[in-house]
């Protein structure tokens, strides 16, 4: 890959990051392996139809964004008692075996160029460890990015019969001139009969390029739910993936986005049904306004041995301006006939009849429109268990709608 990163990316840089953090040998090795693999790795797959590619990550000028040795962020990591929410470096000391065995297990660091880059360079991170039988509500991790580039890593391990709800928030702090790059990888290991809801709220400033991959794997009877809310950034490529490995395991992937100005969101949700009797429900709702653009791909992949699968997907996009563009591709790949699967996608504008009804009840047009847009998000808001995430999202939606009227 010729990204012009060679000048800043070297074994020396990676060693400096690792040694500065006093990391064990295995982690340094993982980083170096990822660095070495960069030459052979491709950028993450984006939707393309013959002759057309919607998001061109390879065109990004990484050299001007990535400055691995000046990474700086502020982190707020809290959780109730019984669950451990630790900065990555601390977790490596406190639970060396757990971290070593779980790291890179759910997301192969060498999945693509950007995951490998993230593995080689990450300095910021969180390990959320939920021991067997523990119920933990409202784990909160807030990351404020203060440098030109930041590589973040989140590892969630939920042991047998535990449950946890997590909010992870990404935002930008100190002003930086020009563009920035944020990269985040999240791995979620869902143990037998465990329950995880991992919610992410991305509200980076509109100069920031953002790449995120959140991936969960389930054991028998496990539930791994992921909420992915995207409102910030200049360009976002985010992937949410769940592998339903254990029999009778479940997932619900909830997506919400709101694009305005010239924001670009490339969002995909993918689920693999591998065990028997697994259930997946994918719900995404997004609004795009001004010159913004959304690209959505949802994949429901039912494996040959995935007997008795139920898999559903819904994606709805609301377009508020003529200059905006929305592309959608909900894909079904079915290899087992003992399957009930459906997907649907719609794109449209605010319902004229509903608008007319509200106006006839005396609500001014702009207010009525805003209420309808807010109401459009209700099916996804309803799924969010961490109150703060729900409120944050609603607040951004309201602020955007208000600024629209002004």
């Amino acid at each position: 890959m010729s990204t012009g990163l060679q000048s800043v990316l070297s074994e020396g840089t990676v060693r400096e990051i690792s040694e500065g953090r006093d990391e064990p040998e295995w982690l340094l090795q993982q980083r170096l392996d990822a660095l070495e693999a960069l030459d052979d790795l491709a950028f993450p797959a984006v939707i393309k139809t013959p002759g057309r590619k919607w998001t061109d990550l390879a065109d990004l000028d990484f050299e001007s964004f990535v400055d691995p040795l000046t990474q700086s962020d502020e982190k707020d990591q809290v959780g109730p008692s019984g669950v451990e929410v630790l900065p990555f470096a601390e977790a490596v000391d406190a639970h060396p075996e757990l971290v070593e065995s779980a790291f890179g297990n759910v997301v192969d660091p060498q999945t693509n160029y950007l995951t490998a880059l993230s593995t080689a360079l990450f300095t910021s991170g969180t390990v959320i460890y939920v021991p067997e039988g523990v119920n933990a509500e409202d784990v909160k991790v807030r990351t404020t990015m203060n440098s030109r580039s930041l590589f973040n890593y989140t590892l969630v391990v939920a042991e047998e019969s535990s449950s946890v709800t997590i909010l992870e928030r990404q935002q930008t702090g100190d002003e930086v001139d020009g563009a920035r790059y944020y990269s985040g990888i999240t791995e979620i290991a869902t143990g037998e009969n465990a329950y995880v809801q991992y919610g992410s709220m991305q509200d980076l400033d509109q100069e920031t390029y953002n790449y995120q991959l959140k991936r969960g794997v389930t054991d028998t009877y496990g539930t791994c739910n992921i909420v992915d809310a995207n409102v910030g950034s200049r360009l976002t490529k985010t992937s949410v993936e769940v592998e339903l490995e254990g029999d009778s395991s479940e997932t619900k992937i909830v997506g919400a986005f709101y694009g305005h100005d010239d924001q670009h969101f490339d969002i995909d949700s993918r689920v693999w049904h591998e065990g028997e009797h697994t259930t997946a429900d994918l719900v995404t709702r997004g609004v795009i306004d001004d010159d913004s653009r959304s690209v959505y791909e949802g994949v429901q992949n039912v494996g040959r041995e995935a007997w008795d699968t139920s898999s559903y997907q819904r994606e709805n996009t609301l377009m508020l301006s003529d200059e905006s563009e929305a592309d959608a591709s909900p894909k079904l790949i079915i290899n087992n006939h003992d399957t009930e699967a459906s997907h649907s996608a719609t794109v449209g504008q605010v319902d004229q009849q509903e608008l007319f009804y509200m106006k006839s009840r005396g609500v001014p047009e702009q207010l009525a429109k805003n209420m309808l847009v807010e109401g459009f998000y209700v099916p996804v808001l309803d799924e969010i268990e961490v109150e703060e995430l729900r409120e944050d999202l609603l607040e951004v939606i309201r602020a955007r709608l208000a600024s629209r009227t002004a």
Partner: protein
């Protein structure tokens, strides 16, 4: 497969669709594709210079274009070796450009079409029938009443000679240029035969116009071209049937269909295709629809080893409408990759796509679709519905729709469902005295009803027969 084969032999449908004739031709071009081959084809067809030049330009484009290889989940085309294909075979008929009367056809050709039921269909008072055997149309007839109104229905080769002005203007220029894709370029270079339909302004052709194409020789390619021009406020329904018997070697079918729907016109293009299971069916079909025009695509894709076919409509004028109804059936070793493309390029345009697929015995069906709504195509609406029925766990069914929306005042909806044949439904029918096979057949017949409804009865019957046959094979 073996049980399929055994069963095929016992049914009369085997006789109808899988029989083959001893190859007997007047001219057979060399295998492979060179400039020389093209010159020979063109000369043999007595073509004007401009057509030869178009062929040669298309050949150049074909040679420069890569094979499609990077489509997610696309059929494997590695076996398609153009050098192994005989691009052109002219059957041995003395009368150039087709026989006038059915009786004038050589016995074995007539016999072939008899078995396919073509004269029967004509006796049932269809308005016109063209039958293509190998690369050329051998028989054509149209009721005089349409001819008097200026309707032209003839074989494409003849049209090049007799209506050069129209053909030169429309043939692979505006609708399907050879540069569209590799197989369109191949088609542009070595096309042969096909149908030319011209309907003048304000004329309604009340009976469907029919053509039947058949591949009879091993290792050949069939590249028929269909050009339909429906002038303002005219109406026509064109039906095409295709079949090829089975050979050990592979066959290539790469047809081209171009439809021009002028202002206020209405064209329905229906096809039931049943290619032999070693045929690669790689077609390009497209319609350009002007203001308030309506284009309807009705197709049943049966047979073939691999099909890649996505009939497209370009809704160019305001108020233009497109309807797609398709059904695909994939059995053992078959990969049917088909779908629909609609470009909404003007305001108030509408499209509906209804796609059904059935897969069994390891067959693979894929719906690959594209709906594009251009900036400015306000008040456009589209609805896409895909339903897949799976019989067993060896089969695969994928749905890959793409929606590109550049306009906000639109209404876009896509829905797809996949399911196995409902145990409860089967149980209910069994409780009413049907055996398992009949129950399943009845459910499948219900599943494909939206398409059989759109076809004239002969074709609906043929489609039902074909599907029954495939089903019996799987269940017997």
């Amino acid at each position: 497969m073996s049980s399929d084969q055994d069963h095929l032999k016992e049914t009369d449908t085997e006789a109808r669709f899988e029989f083959k004739k001893e190859e007997k031709s007047a001219f057979k071009s060399e295998k492979g594709l060179t400039e020389e081959t093209i010159r020979v084809i063109s000369e043999d067809k007595d073509e004007p210079e401009w057509m030869l030049q178009r062929r040669l330009r298309a050949l150049k484009q074909f040679q420069q274009m890569p094979m499609p290889t990077d489509w997610p989940g696309q059929p494997d085309l590695s076996e398609v070796d153009i050098d192994e294909i005989v691009p052109y075979i002219r059957p041995d008929i003395e009368t150039r450009g087709g026989a006038e009367k059915w009786e004038d056809l050589p016995d074995e050709i007539r016999d072939t079409f008899d078995k396919l039921g073509i004269p029967e269909a004509e006796r049932n008072a269809l308005s016109g029938v063209g039958a293509q055997y190998e690369s050329e149309i051998v028989y054509q007839n149209m009721q005089e009443q349409w001819e008097e109104k200026g309707v032209i229905f003839m074989d494409m080769d003849k049209a090049v000679r007799e209506h050069p002005d129209i053909v030169q203007e429309y043939f692979m220029t505006k609708c399907v240029p050879p540069s569209d894709n590799k197989f369109a370029a191949l088609h542009g270079a070595i096309w042969s035969g096909g149908s030319f339909v011209y309907v003048p302004e304000d004329v309604t052709v009340e009976m469907p116009i029919q053509a039947y194409f058949r591949m009879n020789s091993e290792g050949m390619g069939q590249f028929e071209h269909t050009l339909i021009i429906a002038e303002e406020n005219s109406e026509v329904h064109y039906i095409e049937g295709c079949s090829a018997p089975k050979y050990s070697h592979f066959n290539l079918h790469s047809g081209g269909v171009e439809v021009f729907v002028k202002e206020g016109a209405h064209v329905q293009y229906s096809t039931v295709q049943n290619w032999s299971k070693n045929t690669y069916n790689l077609n390009t079909k497209r319609a350009i629809v002007e203001k308030d025009g309506t284009m309807e695509w009705v197709s049943g894709s049966m047979g073939s080893k691999a099909t890649m076919l996505y009939p497209a409509s370009i809704l160019k004028g305001p108020g233009a409408t497109d309807n797609h109804i398709t059904i695909a059936f994939a059995g053992e070793g078959q990969n049917i990759d088909t779908g629909a493309k609609v470009y909404h390029n003007a305001p108030n345009t509408k499209s509906t796509i209804e796609s059904k697929s059935i897969s069994k015995d390891g067959g693979r069906t894929n719906y690959r679709g594209l709906v594009h709504i251009a900036n400015g195509a306000e008040n456009s609406s589209t609805s896409v519905e895909c339903d897949a029925l799976m019989f067993d766990n060896e089969s695969t069914s994928d749905t890959m729709p793409y929606m590109e929306i550049q306009e906000s005042k639109v209404d876009v909806a896509h829905e797809a469902t996949v399911g196995k044949i409902g145990d409860e439904d089967v149980f209910y029918l069994q409780s009413r005295g049907l055996d398992d096979d009949d129950a399943k057949q009845m459910i499948v017949a219900g599943f494909i009803e939206p398409i059989t409804e759109e076809l004239p009865i002969e074709y609906a019957v043929e489609l039902n027969r074909l599907i029954e046959l495939e089903m019996e094979g799987s269940l017997g």
